[in-house]
Each structure stands twice: as C-alpha cells, then as structure tokens.
Symmetry: C2
Subunit: 204 residues, 2 copies
DNA sequence: GTCTATACAACGATAGAC
DNA sequence: GTCTATCGTTGTATAGAC
C-alpha cells in the first residue's frame, strides 16, 4: 500500500512500484528488474525518468517521507495529554506496519552502509520524522512542571530510534504479538509518569 | 574489528572476513567476491566451507552473537544500580559502534526482508540479546518497590529495539555527536527514576 | 515517452586440476 | 583443502526503433 496521492503519471507509477518493492522485498530485492515487474512497466523507464536505481530509491524516500510526515503531523495536532499521545503513537505505528513508510526508511538506512551518497539522502529525509516526534513531545509536556528541564531534541532522537528498531524487529515477528505488549507497557509508563509529575505516588 | 577468538583455521578466516564486510559495506555489499577480497582468500572457499553466501552470513551471525552476548553478559554481572547500568550500557553501545556486532544484526535484519529463511535465523540469534537486556533489568530493579509490577520481557524487547535503531541511525551520523547526548539524557532519566522510586520529588 | 534489444559488469555457484 | 577457469543468471545501463 504505497502513499497514494494520484498514481497517474508514469513517474508516479514508478515511484509507487519502487516503494512497494522496497517494503516487500527490502533493499536487496529492490532491483530495476524487480521494481519494473512489480509495477508492470518497462525496466528502461526507470533510467529514462530517474537516471539510476539509486536516484529512484532516493526520490521514493523523499516523496514518501514528505507525505507521511505531513499525514502524521495532522494526526497528532492538538493532542496535549501524554496518554492520548501514546495511544495515537500506537495507532500510527500499527498503521505504518501495514503501510511501510518507516520500514522503507530502515531498509534504505541499511543500504546506505555501502553508499555514502544514499546515506546523506536518508539522513536528510529522516530529520522531519525526528522533528515530528520533538513537536509531539513539546505539545505533551507543555505546561508541565518539568517542561523546561527536558532535552527535547535528544528525546526525539531516542524515540525515533526506538520506532525504527521496533519496525525492523517487528517485521521479523510473524504474528506481531510483541508490538501490542510494547504499547500497553508504554501506556503503563505514561500513566506512572503522569502520576509522578502530578506529585502523586508512582503506582496508583 | 571482528570478534577475534583465534582466526587460525580457514573457516574462521572466512567468518571474520564476512563479519568485517557486513559491518563495513552492509548487506548489499556482502557478496562472495567482496568477502573473499576482504579476507584475501579464494572466492570458491566460501562455497566449499559454507555451501552458500547466505549460509555463511547466518553462521557469521550466530558466532558473533554468541561471543558478544557472552562478553556483554560478563560486563553487566553484579551491577544492581540503575545509574551504573546506564553507564555500562553507554560504554557497551560505544564499543559496539566500533566493533559492529549490532550493526551486523541490523544489516541481516534488513536483508531478511527478502529471505524468510534468513529471517528465522536472525530472530533466533537476536533472542539472546533481548534476554540479556531482560537480565540487566531484573538485576537493576531487584528489591525495588516496583519490582513485581514491571513487564520485563516487554521492556527488554523495547530497549533492544532502541539500541538496534540507535545503531542503525548513528551509523549515518558522521560525527557520532547525538549518541553522547542520548546517554546523558538516559542518565538524567535514570536519576529521576531513582528519585521517584525512593519517594523523593522528581527533580532533586 | 515507451518499447525491444543488447552491452557489459558482477553475481552465485560448480567442475576439475593440483 | 585450495586453486583456476568457467557457466548461467541477474544486475545496471544504453542505443535505437517506434
């Protein structure tokens, strides 16, 4: 399920096919031939429209990241309660497991190990995700007594890493059973945190 | 820097070369030819000793995981203070960024997207890492008032994911500057947590 | 802009000499 | 057990017809 906007033009068909291939078969399976077969178009079109496979993958990453970050940003808008935010984060993570936008990022990150130019592109495309998390954190802790003491950028970097690893790991878990438990745990932690911030005892 | 035990036999030389190649060039760069060039031996030896490239990579994963988990387990032995544990975790993460054992796991996880058999092997090899984290958590919270209420397996799964993502992401950060800030943040959090557990106010 | 055909490199893997 | 040589496949990429 690619980030469908209007897969009308050929360029968009190619981008969608590249996205699907990347999510389903990973970076090692994302060859020009495989992508073309996936989208049922001619292999040569990739090189005509994007110059090289790598440039196509980078374009796919940039498009998908932009669309998805904007999408997720809308979803967290106005949420100021920590528990609610965890709830939304869980929902977004579950959706993303289906859609695959983070999976794609993880795959390209792995692929960037042998390709510095790709590495640069991935770093650049991932920054908006980190910024999104930072925005969520600031919303949630606004007005809290510890608001001014929190290292938001570092927290955002850490939480982004968590989701990245979670998605990489969850893909291997055939019956995504661990994920739900992760979020029920995060729920518990957020509850405890809210207690503590409010000056109440840890449990209760 | 592979997990050197005694790289004497040919099989071990091949395993070391596969490890190095995987860490330096990632899954997309880990071809039979590249591995052979890296270890300065004949390409055909890989197939004689391991049958296929994939089976070599799986053998590399299994060996490295066993050695490194045991190594790290020794390092966390006897640590019961949360702050100390964070300190050790930071040191181990820094070491691992040099050595690459988690990087290798992340790379094979990415590669497993197009290879279910590889996926199975990776899941199996990663479990000891999760168990290691769980052990660390139980040590640290033993005797604490919240000891009985913590979902250790879920926490271990989450923290393992965090390190996985952190290593994937940090590899792209040319001047590993973010990592240190992550751990100073974790230090802060562990300090706050210790306060709270002890019934003291959050900051202080 | 899209197709067929093809060049050429790198890949996994094997045969057979040593 | 290790080497050279090689086969067949798949990869990226291009030329040229349409």
């Amino acid at each position: 399920m690619p980030p469908k906007t209007a897969g009308d033009t050929t360029k968009e068909r190619i981008l969608d096919a590249a996205f699907d291939t990347l999510v389903e078969d990973g970076i090692t399976g994302a060859s020009a031939r495989a992508i073309a077969a996936h989208g049922e178009f001619n292999q040569a079109l990739i090189f005509y429209h994007f110059g090289s496979v790598r440039d196509l993958l980078i374009a796919t990453l940039e498009r998908s990241s932009q669309i998805q970050v904007e999408r997720y940003r809308e979803r967290i808008e106005g949420i100021t309660d920590l528990g609610d935010m965890v709830h939304v984060a869980a929902a977004l993570h579950a959706e993303d497991m289906e859609r695959g936008s983070i999976t794609m990022v993880a795959q390209l990150m792995a692929g960037a190990a042998s390709d510095p130019e790709m590495g640069e592109a991935v770093v650049k495309a991932f920054q908006p995700w980190i910024d999104l998390v930072e925005r969520a954190l600031r919303q949630v802790f606004a007005g809290s007594p510890i608001e001014a003491f929190l290292p938001y950028p570092d927290m955002a970097y850490g939480i982004s890493s968590l989701f990245l690893g979670l998605e990489l790991l969850s893909k291997l878990d055939p019956d995504h059973e661990q994920e739900e438990r992760i979020f029920s745990m995060m729920n518990m932690v957020s509850g405890m945190l809210e207690n503590v911030i409010a000056g109440k005892p840890l449990l209760g």
